[in-house]
């Protein structure tokens, strides 16, 4: 039913109900109401890429903050709405833990090495210096505890990037 393509855009089809528009000509205030019900960063980004009117309307509202994704044991990623983001095989191989936000995943490998990857584009990992033992322990602890839920005294690990990973030689602090 939803795939019945009856293009009313510029077609002026039979009904004169909504002023002859079509979804691309949805009045801005109505699209705003729809946007309020699309809290996912990904949905909002994709909505902006549908057509010019939607892009212009949607750009008037700031994007919601990207929320962390959940990495599943089978290597998949889901957003907090439970929608699959995309399978990310990089997360499966010899990776001990992973923190992912937006298009960036911070990986701790079995050999205690660390790297940053874009889990979606499959870009090659950017190796990082080995973490100091204490930091590594903190990351481990935070993961352990988040699973048991028994202890909320989490260690916070933060990675700061000076630029996108796509740029040559980004500055990274952990």
């Amino acid at each position: 039913m939803f795939c019945s393509v009856s293009n009313r855009y510029g077609g002026g089809a039979g009904e004169d109900g909504g002023g002859g528009g079509g979804a691309s000509e949805l009045p801005a205030e109505l699209l705003d109401l729809v946007l309020l019900r699309l809290p996912s960063h990904a949905d909002r980004v994709r909505l902006r890429a549908v057509c010019r009117p939607w892009r212009a309307d949607a750009q008037r509202q700031a994007l919601p903050p990207p929320l962390p994704w959940l990495a599943l044991r089978d290597g998949g990623l889901v957003d907090l709405d439970g929608a699959a983001v995309r399978s990310a095989p990089a997360l499966r191989e010899g990776v001990r833990s992973c923190l992912a936000v937006d298009n960036l995943a911070f990986l701790v490998h079995d050999d205690c090495g660390c790297s940053l990857v874009n889990p979606l584009s499959g870009s090659p990992a950017t190796p990082l210096p080995h973490l100091a033992d204490a930091v590594l322990q903190a990351v481990e602890d935070s993961n352990m505890r988040s699973y048991t839920g028994a202890n909320i005294q989490l260690a916070v690990a933060k990675v700061i990037l000076s630029s996108l990973l796509d740029f040559p030689d980004p500055l990274i602090a952990a």
Partner: protein
């Protein structure tokens, strides 16, 4: 329409409305009061036998809106849990419409100020958009891609990851 008038609320008064394409509809006053615009017209004594003209609402969406208001007006107060659930089921079935009708309902409910229906249609639209690629959304809503290939490429680069739910087809998004 006739069936919709059976379970009227406490008011016996019937309100007539006329669609943009000249069709006449009737609904109980309690149902018409769910529309802000109609309520104001009734209060201003503009509701006469000729019917209130709704210049931008065609017969098809208006018939649906009359159904919606009549159902909700009849069940508006002192709902039991079963009745509330029944109303919820009614809403869910009511809004299972094609995207042309959904668009008409969105615009008409907003124009007529039928708050409950407006929310229902907005939520339905958001649910249809959720989790879809731009191309899938264009198909769903019958929208023409009016970006130039250069613009499209630029848009895709902004948030590359968001467009990779499925393998991109020939064009980037």
């Amino acid at each position: 329409m006739a069936a919709a008038t059976d379970d009227a609320g406490d008011s016996n008064e019937m309100i007539r409305v006329v669609s943009s394409d000249g069709e006449h509809f009737e609904m109980p006053e309690a149902a018409a009061n769910l529309s802000l615009v109609l309520r104001h017209m009734i209060e201003d004594d503009c509701a006469d036998a000729a019917g209130i003209p709704l210049a931008v609402v065609a017969a098809k969406p208006l018939a649906k809106i009359v159904d919606y208001c009549t159902k909700h007006a009849a069940k508006s107060s002192g709902l039991t849990i079963e009745e509330a659930e029944e109303l919820k089921r009614f809403d869910a079935e009511f809004i299972e419409v094609d995207t042309d009708m959904l668009y008409d309902l969105l615009v008409a409910a907003d124009f007529m100020g039928v708050e409950g229906l407006s929310k229902l249609a907005v939520q339905r639209t958001a649910d249809l958009i959720k989790g879809k690629t731009p191309e899938q959304n264009r198909e769903t809503f019958g929208i023409v891609n009016d970006f130039t290939p250069e613009e499209e490429e630029e848009i895709c680069k902004e948030n590359e990851w968001a467009f990779q739910i499925t393998k991109p087809p020939s064009r980037l998004c």
